[in-house]
Amino acid sequence: MHLTDAEFIEHLDGALSPDRAAHVASCERCRREAEGLAATLRDTRSVEAPEPSPLFWDHFSAQVREAIDQPAPSRLTAFLNALRRPGPALAGAAIIAVLVVIAAFWPRDEYPPVVSVVVDYPAPLEPPLATLLESDPEWAFLATMADGIDWEAADAAGLSVGPGAVERAALQLSREELGELARLLREHVGGDGAL
């Protein structure tokens, strides 16, 4: 019987039992596989990592001490910090802000209170309203858009939105900034310009 995955690793570690090692010596297929793995392991081992200077470590320790001495930032501070950061956090915040703006200006003849209620009270909804939301096309649109957001990544990036923070941020945007956010949104969701 040919070597199992685990036995190939034991072979690389020199820990394969003598009878199985004898099999490798006599089996062309297992021998070739073992040699290939050994060569890959050698290649992998040869890749060095940099060794920072002693000064780097002094700074590092000091920065860790500083970090653990700092009080935890408030949710609002974390949100504002995330807005200041480029990259995923900003993109995530931009998408959320645009969603709120779209929701605020979206024409709604049938269900006028839906979006504003959702924005003001993101906490648990009363059953009648939840039922209403399920059949609301605007809510479905928002839910679809929000589906594309990687919340874990946003959270890992420090993005934390306090109640009302997004609305306040969106209301402070100029017309040009709103236009730019809309463009970003189209770019991120691959929209067709129908926003």
């Binding site: 685990a6 190939f8 992998t44 081992r45 940099p50 470590w57 590092f60 860790v64 653990i68 990544a153």
Partner: protein
């Protein structure tokens, strides 16, 4: 020679503790849980290189590795009460480190183009070597790093812990919350995938 944190710690500890306390991560962790930041600083000094190297193997950039390593220690500080001493402190720290790194690399596409230029050729003794061989070796190392970045998270973590940190499979299994057999299987598949990617 004692480090700054060690000096401060030993100055605070009873004289007859010094030898045992300074050598014991768990004792320091207990002191840190009680709010002793110098004890935690000593733990940081002891493990910072290992944690930094771990992070570097995942992200390939010193600056990003430093930020991640700091994040690991901040999380460790905040979660110290969760360290129940069922494993070594370093194993617990590795677990945090691997989680932080995997979260980072799975949250965004690997920045292969942004990886720092390789300095293997500069690190190695190349005095008796044909310059072309040095370039080839550097190029090969770059290919290996790119291939490692393409591995699935668990395979990548297993490979990094086994090859670059030389941990036994028993410890890798403990860190990754899997079995020894799964660790060996992950390592096998990591090498097999690398082999294919490098062909």
């Amino acid at each position: 020679m004692l480090s700054r944190a060690e000096r401060m710690w030993t100055a605070r500890a009873e004289p007859d503790w010094t030898v045992t306390v300074v050598g014991d991560d768990r004792e320091l962790a207990r002191a840190a849980v009680a709010g002793d930041r110098e004890a935690f600083s000593l733990l940081v000094e002891r493990h910072q290189r290992t944690v930094f190297q771990l992070c570097y193997r995942f992200v390939g950039r010193q600056e990003e590795a430093r930020d991640l390593a700091q994040d690991v220690f901040v999380r460790a500080w905040k979660g110290l009460r969760g360290f129940k001493e069922q494993s070594a402190f370093s194993t617990w720290l590795y677990r945090i480190g691997v989680n932080v790194c995997l979260n980072r690399v799975t949250a965004k596409a690997p920045r292969l183009d942004a990886m720092e230029p390789l300095d293997e050729a500069a690190c190695a003794d190349t005095r008796a070597e044909d310059p072309n061989e040095g370039i080839d070796r550097g190029r090969r190392a770059a290919l290996v790093r790119i291939a490692i970045a393409k591995l699935p998270p668990k395979q990548r973590a297993t490979l990094v812990l086994r090859v670059y940190h030389e941990l036994p499979h028993e410890r890798i299994a403990e860190i990754l919350g899997s079995s020894v057999g799964a660790s060996k299987a992950n390592f096998f598949h990591a090498l097999a995938n690398l082999k294919k990617l490098l062909e």
